[in-house]
């Protein structure tokens, strides 16, 4: 294990690197094209990162950020274009050691082994060997201690890695990356699972390392953080490079505009509100809180009203919606559906109270793929299929045929397994089930994720139709198109409802609110 010795003493570069220094770019990717089947994930994208700077990469979901990261870290080769490190071409994909010396990525998903100690994780497969060719555990421990203290990471190398919190784990992964000799580190949404104080500690660490000559590519959904920590920012949209500019010279409004694209004007015409303020509200949520996820959430959804619940990935919007339908139980507060208070944390109780539900991920929670359309669509209404627990197949198929017509599901018949349908039609089956019992409250989480444009229009049209019949609708999503028809949108940020935006908003207002940024600041 000679390569173990090579990296024993990481030497920090001299600290006189100015911020945003010029010179050869440490990484440059040009004209990158990457396709996955018919999808174009990167379309002529480019990025140039100079040594010593902290560079932000921002863009909405699907902009191509993660694909670029996997190209830059050598996990995937681009279909076209090339990547250079310090002017020389990137190593072969199979040469993992060469890639590790140039670039490292701290992913949101951990790449440490929880059952082993921190020291062993740092030097896995490159342990210190004693004279007898056996591993010298004292050597491994000493070297881990040296490494951790060189980069001032305050973690005991003897701790099992599974006992670390997210923050410590990130520091350990950064230290490991540095021990391979990489001085360019990609941080993929490092703040998503951290609280405010931990984020500040992470930023202090990033600034420290930057002074020691480490270059960062920082990926975040929180634009505020970009302004706080980064020198340069690159915006991707729809698989393309939009702009690269110094952060200081780019006003927030322009950054948000670059992310959303000016062309995204209001596509839907105004819809008359179907809110019926005389009827009792479909949903009222009071002071709802759950440790670590969200807190102090209060709102109501009137009969016939469509309310959006917007927010970034970790904002708590999904958790609130799942609490409403009983997939989770809140620790404080209460929920009333159409005047009844279902038992917290019970889906059957929420359904009985009059809720219909389209879950976040149809593949996980939405349907049973190998069961037929008829079985799936009627899964939540067994009592309408027959008496005494027996089900009447004829009645089931009639009910399902009605749904297939109503939602225009493209299928030869109700007996086809759902796995044989396209994504859009699968989602229609899930929607059909949510509507099967004529709900008083319809809760939708990311209802159009992974659905083609026409099915999307159709599904959203169906939602409006449902609202017109007096049903209250709650849509938890970060997809602007889902939220456009809402009577009002509640914006969540870090577990709190921070804004309420009435219909007629502009894209950049909503995006800025979701990213926790005040455009007027």
């Amino acid at each position: 294990m000679k390569d173990g010795e090579r990296t024993a003493n990481p030497v920090p570069a001299p600290a006189d690197h100015g911020r945003a220094s010029t010179g050869l770019p440490i990484v440059e990717a040009t004209r990158i094209v990457k396709r996955f089947g018919p999808t174009v994930a990167l379309n002529g994208a480019r990025i140039t990162i100079r040594a010593g700077e902290t560079h932000a990469l921002v863009g909405r979901n699907g902009a191509g950020k993660s694909t670029l990261v996997s190209v830059l870290t050598g996990l995937q080769s681009p279909d076209e274009g090339k990547v250079t490190f310090g002017g020389s071409p990137a190593p072969r994909l199979a040469d993992r050691d060469a890639w590790r010396q140039r670039v490292a990525c701290v992913y949101q998903k951990s790449t440490i082994i929880p059952t082993l100690t921190v020291a062993e994780n740092l030097f896995l497969n490159r342990h210190d060997h004693g004279p007898s060719r056996l591993i010298s555990w004292t050597g491994v421990r000493r070297r881990a201690q040296e490494l951790l203290s060189t980069w001032s990471v305050d973690v005991d190398p003897q701790t099992p890695a599974g006992d670390l919190n997210v923050e410590q784990r990130q520091f350990v992964e950064i230290a490991r990356a540095l021990s391979f000799g990489a001085r360019f580190i990609i941080l993929d949404e490092p703040t998503a699972q951290l609280d405010g104080a931990a984020i500040n500690r992470l930023f202090d660490r990033i600034r420290d390392l930057q002074r020691q000559g480490v270059t960062f590519l920082f990926i975040s959904h929180h634009l505020q953080e970009v302004y706080e920590i980064c020198d340069m920012v690159t915006v991707f949209r729809d698989a393309r490079h939009i702009v690269t500019a110094p952060v200081a010279g780019l006003p927030r409004t322009e950054l948000v505009a670059a992310m959303t694209g000016e062309a995204a004007a209001d596509r839907r015409q105004e819809r008359p509100s179907s809110l019926d303020s005389t009827a009792p509200p479909a949903l009222s949520v009071r002071a709802l809180g759950s440790d670590g996820d969200y807190g102090d959430v209060t709102f109501r959804v009137g009969a016939g009203e469509i309310v959006g619940l917007a927010g970034a990935a970790a904002s708590g919007r999904t958790e609130v919606a799942e609490t409403v339908v009983g997939l989770r139980a809140a620790s404080t507060g209460n929920i009333e559906i159409a005047g009844r208070r279902p038992r917290p944390g019970s889906v059957p109780a929420a359904l009985a109270a009059g809720a219909g539900f389209v879950p976040q991920d149809r593949h996980h929670q939405g349907f049973v793929p190998d069961m037929s359309i008829a079985d799936n669509a009627t899964l939540s209404v067994p009592k309408r299929l027959g008496q005494g627990g027996f089900l009447n197949r004829g009645r089931r198929d009639r009910l399902a045929e009605g749904m297939i017509r109503n939602l225009a599901i493209k299928t030869p018949g109700p007996e086809l397994p759902v796995s044989g349908l396209s994504g859009g039609n699968q989602q229609k089956v899930v929607m059909a089930r949510a509507l099967a019992d004529d709900p008083r409250l319809l809760v939708l989480i990311n209802p159009t994720a992974g659905v083609d444009v026409r099915s999307k229009e159709f599904l959203l049209g169906k939602v409006e139709e449902t609202a017109q019949s007096g049903t209250g609708v709650l849509i938890a999503s970060d997809e602007l198109d889902d939220l456009r028809m809402c009577d009002r949108v509640l914006v969540m940020f870090q577990g709190r409802v921070t804004n309420e935006i009435a219909r007629g908003w502009h894209d950049h207002d909503l995006v800025a609110a979701m990213e926790g940024m005040d455009l007027n600041a």
Binding site: R96, I113, P114, L116, L124, T159, G295
Partner: protein, 347 residues
């Protein structure tokens, strides 16, 4: 979120504090090491109880008897331990233990006496036994690693197939008149102790060193803990898995050889039902069924504890008809003991 901030800061502080506290002797003996010794107090307690129940218990003859009867199954435990650490499992070990010496006996035992064919000289019986073990390991590896089939079902199928082959070649009967080479490992004495005990102890010692102090051994833990991270660290995971599964089958063949030698026969049911005790011993010894956790020493103390308890019951004069029920009960009690002394939820 000011309140969560405060809570987190104090949590970090207590984490650091706890880390200091659990590392004894200046950090030289981490808690993980101590957990390996979790069963030692239980073993000592059983020894004391045994001595009280019957003064024969702690005499050398009795202890050697315990070690010898457990030596074959202990090799299966060793094999299963390595396989569990890489997050696989091999149910077919018990059938391998019967079939490998069974094939050797079938080819070697002279025709006329039972179902023997008498095709090859007796001196080849040991190589044949090990070759059969190797072949079974290769078949398992091809199905599990190369074709990506579910290891549980593959080895369950192999368990049934291999048992069936042994019943087929033996006509459901027992092979006797084994050649002297097959008897040797089960009967020989080296320096006053049966050879099978020496072999068993030596293999465990080697495994403790390999799994604890070599890069290859540590890669087993890395693969079981997080296979993607292991790949990212440059470990050739498929090759390690191959070696582990094939070695496991080889150990089972060796165990079968030792058992056949001791009993001077190969019954068509040799090893039948062993696998449940093997799993129980591994889990009692602290091996996680979810991979990546546990040590060879722990597994050894697990199987030792089980056999000591059984021996104490026998010495206490428990009727033979009740031993089966008690064996199951022992496993449950031993699991509970290791849960209490180990302190962690078993997965």
């Amino acid at each position: 979120m000011p309140e969560t901030v405060v809570a987190d800061a104090s949590a970090t502080a207590t984490d650091a504090h706890r880390a200091k506290r659990i590392a004894l002797l200046g950090g030289r003996i981490p808690l993980a090491r101590l957990r390996d010794l979790a069963l030692v107090p239980a073993i000592v307690a059983i020894a004391i109880v045994g001595q009280i129940v019957n003064p024969v218990f702690l005499q050398a003859d009795n202890l050697i008897n315990v070690l010898q009867t457990m030596s074959e199954m202990a090799l299966l435990v060793l094999a299963q331990t390595m396989i569990l650490i890489v997050k696989k499992m091999d149910l077919s070990l018990e059938s391998t233990m019967g079939l490998a010496p069974g094939v050797a006996a079938w080819l070697v035992v002279p025709a006329g006496a039972g179902h023997g064919l008498g095709l090859i000289p007796g001196g080849l019986s040991i190589p044949v036994t090990l070759a059969v073990g190797l072949l079974i390991g290769v078949i398992n590896s091809v199905l599990i690693i190369r074709f990506g089939l579910n290891g549980f079902i593959v080895t369950l199928g192999m368990l049934i197939v291999l048992r069936g082959i042994l019943t087929g070649i033996s006509g459901g009967q027992t092979f006797f008149q084994l050649p002297s080479s097959m008897l040797y490992l089960g009967t020989a004495e080296w320096i006053g102790m049966p050879a099978s005990i020496w072999i068993c102890l030596a293999l465990f010692a080697v495994a403790i060193v390999v799994l604890g102090w070599t890069s290859f051994g540590r890669s087993l833990y890395a693969i079981g803990g997080n296979v993607d991270a292991a790949k990212a660290a440059g470990i050739r995971t498929d090759r390690v898995l191959w070696i582990v599964i094939v070695t496991g089958s080889l150990l089972a063949a060796l165990a079968g050889l030792m058992l056949s030698g001791r009993l001077a026969s190969v019954a068509s049911a040799q090893g039948n039902g062993y696998i449940f005790t093997v799993f129980a011993a591994a889990v009692i010894g602290g091996i996680s069924l979810n991979g990546g956790k546990g040590t060879v020493f722990g597994a050894f103390s697990g199987i030792l504890l089980l056999f000591m308890i059984q021996n104490v019951l026998t010495l206490a004069g428990v009727p033979a008809q009740w031993i089966g029920a008690l064996n199951g009960l022992i496993i449950l009690v031993a699991l509970t003991i290791s849960r209490i002394t180990g302190g962690k939820v078993q997965e």
